[in-house]
């Protein structure tokens, strides 16, 4: 997929089990720690990845997350076959959320996830088609 990355990892994100949401993010954090990245870089990647993984579970029924480690950047690619996002700029605005009440009672759905991913990343690309799915590509540069 990405020939120039020195390391790549793939994680399946289960969309049926909210309690396991975030397992891939925990793995990503461990890998980056083992590689020896700076704590602040790891934190930025972790938060962006976790928000994106939670979104994949609560809005899209799960999907696949990939981590690519380059010498000069860390790239996360999250792909789902969920409902897609009709209006990406609306979805990016702070406080906008279509999450149902049961998700809010679990502590999520404040509409801050996508803006937060944008804040902690150097680049964020969102490709989405209604009825087909969504791919987020998040780049963080150490």
């Amino acid at each position: 997929m990405d020939n120039q990355s020195i390391l790549s990892y793939t994680f399946n994100v289960d969309g049926n089990d909210f309690s396991s949401a975030g397992e891939a993010s925990v793995q990503v954090k461990k890998i980056l720690r083992n590689i020896g990245f700076d704590a602040e870089v790891i934190r930025r990647v972790s938060i962006a990845m976790y928000e994106a993984e939670i979104n994949m579970v609560i809005h899209a029924g799960g999907g696949v997350a990939q981590l690519f480690v380059h010498p000069d950047k860390i790239i996360l690619v999250l792909t789902d076959k969920g409902p897609g996002i009709a209006d990406i700029s609306l979805a990016m605005s702070e406080g906008y959320s279509t999450a149902p009440d049961n998700i809010r009672s679990l502590g999520f759905g404040a509409g801050m996830g996508l803006p937060n991913i944008k804040r902690y990343s150097d680049e964020l690309d969102i490709q989405s088609k209604v009825g087909e799915g969504t791919t987020l590509t998040i780049t963080v540069k150490p």
Binding site: S19, S20, A39, G107, G109, M112
Partner: protein, 115 residues
């Protein structure tokens, strides 16, 4: 403030990672909304919450927090404790409610922000 002092101020039980209680922490936040913790918290080392699910532990882990205080005598599951154990996050449980727990820690010197 040491985490052990938080435990005694709140009359809290240490449920996991007892060896971490001598760590110094300087700031805390209280919230039941993990979305808000992820979006607004910066360097706070302690999370005070009444929400109990595995995402609370993972949120704290992603934010590099050192301690979670469960208020209103909420009890984390064995699964949650083993997640916390893996990362070394100290888990405390107190009978006190959110408002009182936060007030006690605030008046005793824990700050809302890292200085």
């Amino acid at each position: 403030m040491k985490i052990s002092e938080i435990a005694s101020l709140l009359d809290a039980e240490v449920l996991c990672c007892k060896d971490g209680v001598f760590h110094q922490v300087h700031s805390a936040c209280g919230s039941d909304m993990m979305s808000d913790v992820l979006a607004y918290v910066k360097d706070q080392a302690v999370l005070i919450t009444g929400l109990v699910n595995p995402q609370v532990i993972r949120t704290a882990e992603m934010m590099d927090m050192r301690c979670i205080v469960f208020v209103r005598n909420k009890r984390p599951s064995a699964e949650m404790l083993s997640l916390a154990e893996e990362t070394g996050i100290v888990i405390l449980a107190t009978q006190k409610r959110m408002f009182e727990a936060c007030g006690l820690l605030y008046t005793n010197g824990l700050a809302p922000k890292e200085v």
